[in-house]
Amino acid sequence: MPKDGSELSLDGLGIPMWLTLEMTYRCPLHCPWCSNPLDFDKFKNELSTEEWKKVLREGRAMGALQLGFTGGEPMLRDDIEELVAYSTELGYYANLITSGIGLTPERLKTMKDGGLKQIQLSLQSSDRDITNKLVGADVYDQKIEIAYEIKRQGFPMVLNVPICKQNIRQTRDILKLAEELGVEYIEFANIQYYNWALLNRAEFLPTREEIEDAEAAVKETRERLGKKMEIYFVIPDYFDERPKACMNGWGAIHLTIGPDGAALPCQEARVIKGLEFPSVLDHSLDWIWNKSPVFNAYRGEDWMKEPCRSCDEKEKDHGGCRCQALLLTGDAANTDPVCSKSPFHHLIESSVAESINEHRVERPLVFRRKGAITTDFLETTE
């Protein structure tokens, strides 16, 4: 996803410049903020190597440039190296988005030779115990070890830190660790509340004071390090008055392909009920992007309702996030309730208020595991 401070030609000319491949929903980690669907275990039929290659060819023919291999944990697939090399041949700028588990010096070397440009490594804390507790697996040491190896092999690296109440107070320590690792970019991505994260929202939401303190730490480090390390700090949209320009608009520049071949306008879009996501097994990428009902559903501005329709900021934020509108207001075509102009904005305010209510009953975090919750009674878009 493009970040604050990243430059992007927004006139995508109708081209899906950003292609994200969710190679698998399998993952050795159990992060309770995972963006994968709650019923992730139902998507067992992953595309084959050849089917992914076809997606890559068709995407490139349409002009896709940035490519992200993600998941689940993409390194659980044994064909990532082959697909990286293939994507380089086609002319992509290939990024690997990983927990680091499954990466080895040998696999890194093969991908380096195959033209992998950049690695985004997730890091949840600078503290071993907190990391292991947060992700539900004993992985901290492996992550740090592979982070040093990634730098030794000369990859530009982004540390991706999902920020929540449980780690926001460690911002300074995490920045120090990033500096020691010598990463070029660190992104503090406040957790976005969809899927698993939404289940755990009340436990995750930081307070405004905690966010301000973290921002201060970021500012100090920026001043001290200058251009040596780029720091992105994305505040949770729950604390904003205006919605994020989610994905730069629906079907504008982003195209995500799920493990089973479902084409999605964003990685969360599966939560929107009633949409039939076309599969790359049945349709060409060109048809999916340009003609399919899903990709046209919220493209442009015609679908907008009030207050978006008459809002002079609609071109800037595109009405915010469709998934958030659906999850919180019941209609994906509503204004993102993060917007203070939304008639549903009180839902955001009350969830923030509830998270700091000292009489709130704290609940244990629900970790992403098969069977952690029953999805038997959920309607899915499978």
Binding site: K3, E7, L8, S9, L65, Y93, Q118, V158, E184
Partner: protein, 94 residues
């Protein structure tokens, strides 16, 4: 320190190796690709970046462009290089 170093005349300039600079046919434009982003570069910018080869100095870049465009482009080249440097697209070869 958020230093504002000006690019000096005898500096040798190269494109930051994190960036990939190339022509993109579907967009009919030069682009800079980097982790997390894409920059579309206009024709003038592309003409300058093409000369940032890690061999030429700023003076040499300017003189080549002066010849090419048959006019004095010193100010606009300097300005572009400073912006490009501030954004991290180029770096000064030591």
């Amino acid at each position: 320190m958020s230093e504002t170093i000006t690019v000096a005349a005898d500096n040798i300039i190269e494109i930051n190796p994190v960036y990939l600079f190339r022509w993109e046919e579907p967009q009919k434009a030069h682009v800079l690709l980097y982790p997390e982003g894409i920059v579309k570069v206009n024709e003038t910018g592309a003409a300058i970046l093409k000369l940032c080869d890690g061999i030429k100095t700023v003076t040499e870049i300017i003189s080549e462009l002066n010849d090419k465009y048959n006019t004095d482009v010193t100010d606009s080249v300097n300005k572009f290089l400073e912006v490009a440097y501030a954004k991290g697209w180029i770096r000064i070869k030591s």
